[in-house]
């Protein structure tokens, strides 16, 4: 941001060199205008796509967004079917995933940023994180099925689902948290250490409080992505018809994307409307999470100044 403001004072290419009559294409003011126009065009298309996507789904599902839709269990009759099990399942899944992934992810980031030496262990960990960030989400589903559902015997419970999604979200959380920790000025740490604080005391009292808004923003985005995931839950074998609200981490569960996916695969168009309504709810939820991230970020940025 700073760079932009300083460069602007220097910018207009009106220096001695470019006053010549035959300007290279890139130096021509029209080219720049065209570039800006083009860039704005692309951004508008992206924006319009986003609006089209959300509007399309919301219009299709709007009529089903009644109170009953939120308080009813799935049904063979599309008009009676609701998402009670699905939204409570998604909410539980989200909270559990946060509980598992947040401490572990931030812990890992703290270790890598504040403790880690540039030894082979750190190198290996960094390599694995970078690699895991790009592993397709279906593969996490296969992992979850074999390890959590089968080997550890958690069955297809909320715990298995949350552990799988936590593993999926971890690399993103670690990377975002590291980024946030890196923005904390060195002076904070040096001051505390000079006063005789231990590394952990320094981290806990000086570094983490400053980094928390950044960590929070990154994590919210990671989690909002995790609850929209369909493929890993499908391979994990998440259930589709559940007529109970989860009451423990071992409860069988369904989730909004799974419910929507099932309704979409039904022949009757009324179920497709239900699916659109379920996706609208999911999108609304994600928009709220994103708004939260924006608010935190805005607060954080003003405090920095």
């Amino acid at each position: 941001m700073e760079a932009t403001s300083t460069t602007q004072t220097l910018s207009p290419g009106a220096g001695a060199f470019s006053t010549a009559k035959k300007r290279p294409l890139l130096a021509h003011p029209m080219t720049e205008k065209a570039f800006i126009f083009f860039a704005r065009g692309i951004i508008s298309v992206a924006l319009l796509t986003l609006i089209a996507l959300i509007a399309d789904v919301a219009i299709d599902g709007y009529e089903r967004l009644t109170w009953n839709f939120f308080t009813a269990f799935p049904s063979r009759k599309a008009e009676n079917a609701g998402i009670l099990a699905a939204w409570t399942g998604s909410l539980w899944l989200l909270l559990l995933t946060i509980t598992i992934a947040l401490p572990v992810g931030v812990g890992a980031a703290v270790y890598l940023e504040e403790y880690g030496s540039k030894g082979p262990f750190t190198k290996l960990v960094e390599l694995c994180i970078a690699n895991l960030a790009g592993v397709p989400s279906v593969i996490y589903g296969i992992l979850g099925l074999q390890v959590f559902v089968r080997s550890l015997g958690f069955e297809r419970s909320l715990l298995s689902g949350a552990l799988t999604l936590a593993l999926l979200a971890l690399p993103i959380i670690i990377m975002a948290s590291r980024e946030a920790l890196r923005t904390v000025p060195k002076g904070y740490r040096e001051g505390a250490l000079a006063l005789g604080a231990t590394r952990w005391q320094t981290t806990r009292t000086q570094v983490l409080p400053v980094a928390i808004p950044g960590i929070a923003t990154g994590c919210i985005l990671a989690f909002s992505r995790a609850i929209g995931e369909t493929a890993p839950l499908i391979t994990l074998g998440a259930l589709t018809y559940v007529a109970q609200v989860p009451n423990s981490v071992f409860s069988p569960f369904t989730a909004l994307p799974i419910q929507a996916f099932n309704w979409l695969s039904r022949p009757q168009p009324e179920f497709h409307t239900n699916a659109a309504a379920a996706i609208t709810v999911l999108l609304a939820f994600m928009i709220m999470l994103n708004l939260l991230a924006i608010i935190i970020r805005a607060k954080y940025q003003t405090r920095q100044r």
Binding site: L10, L53, A108, L127, P136, I234, I279, L291
Partner: protein, 299 residues
């Protein structure tokens, strides 16, 4: 380093450091877990089907009576859809990144970033149906001979999905280009665009390449869009107007299907997942190496 709190022995510190170390080692354990799970079942596949049949056959029909195990149709489908996605997302993402970092006002940035993040967070099943029911009919106006399922629509939807990632990673890369480089270019009388294309982009090329590769890895691993819109037809061709099947789509197909588990047909799932894992891993490692190198450049 000289003033670390190591002068006195504190057991609490020691325990905490170990806990944090365990947290970070979890990523290693997860990687090993994935490799273990995939190799255990892929081994069962390769016991029956030699690798040569995977590499030297051009047909993929493990679920048919006449079984062929040539991975190429799935690989071609994966690469085709990813290439389409990248050919949209890379230039568009780059232009957005340049615009945001060099031209946009603070207000525009503040709005744009969350919008892009939201675009990246939309569940991929939504994109899948968007491709099938929105993009395809639009494209059919231009290509009337195109069928309902094709690599092109799926690729475009995937491009929209990875655009934010490409844009935001490239913007990070552009942002790290030192100011001195920009000022140097201006001092030579460069216009702003000349500065961008002559100094900033070459300076950020490492980060941008890494962003491209990471986006490619994301495209290769994308599942629901291609499973819904690309048509699940393992044909060996590179025609974007024709249906294809990707590796991820095959995994979803078999894991939801009626094939008995423990059979050769079922084990193909793990062989394909293994190939996919190796593919994305290679891409990620290359990307990491490039990022490391370009980071060192400015240190």
């Amino acid at each position: 380093m000289s003033i670390s709190g190591k002068s006195t022995w504190r057991p609490g510190e020691f325990v905490i450091e170990w806990i944090l170390r365990v947290c970070s080692s979890l990523s290693v354990v997860t990687t090993l877990g994935i490799i273990a799970v995939l190799s255990i079942e892929s081994v069962l596949f390769f016991e029956e089907v030699p690798v040569s049949r995977l590499l030297f056959d051009t047909e993929w029909t493990p679920l048919f009576l006449d079984k062929h195990f040539g991975i190429w149709p799935l690989l071609a489908g994966t690469l085709l859809t990813s290439a389409i996605a990248l050919s949209f997302a890379v230039p568009a993402g780059l232009i957005i990144a340049i615009y945001v970092s060099e031209y946009a006002s603070e207000g525009v940035r503040k709005v744009l970033k969350p919008v892009l993040e939201l675009l990246a967070g939309i569940p991929t099943i939504v994109y899948g149906y968007f491709a099938l029911l929105f993009i395809t009919p639009m494209l059919q106006v231009i290509f009337p001979e195109m069928g309902s399922f094709n690599a092109l629509s799926a690729g475009i939807a995937m491009g929209i999905m990875i655009l934010p990632m490409m844009a935001s990673l490239s913007e990070d890369a552009i942002y790290t280009v030192p100011r001195s480089l920009r000022e140097g270019a201006y001092a030579l009388g460069a216009s702003k665009l000349q500065m961008i294309f002559g100094a900033v982009l070459p300076g950020a090329v490492g980060g941008i390449t890494a962003a491209m590769i990471l986006s490619a890895a994301r495209a290769v691993g994308e599942t629901m869009i291609v499973a819904i819109a690309a048509g699940q037809q393992p044909l060996l061709h590179l025609n974007p107007l024709q249906p294809v099947e990707t590796m991820t789509a095959y995994i979803v197909q078999v894991s939801l299907g009626d094939t008995p588990h423990g059979t050769l047909e079922y084990h193909t799932l793990f062989a394909v997942a293994m190939m996919l894992f190796l593919l994305t891993m290679t891409l990620n490692i290359i990307s990491l190496a490039i990022r490391e190198r370009s980071k060192r450049m400015y240190r």
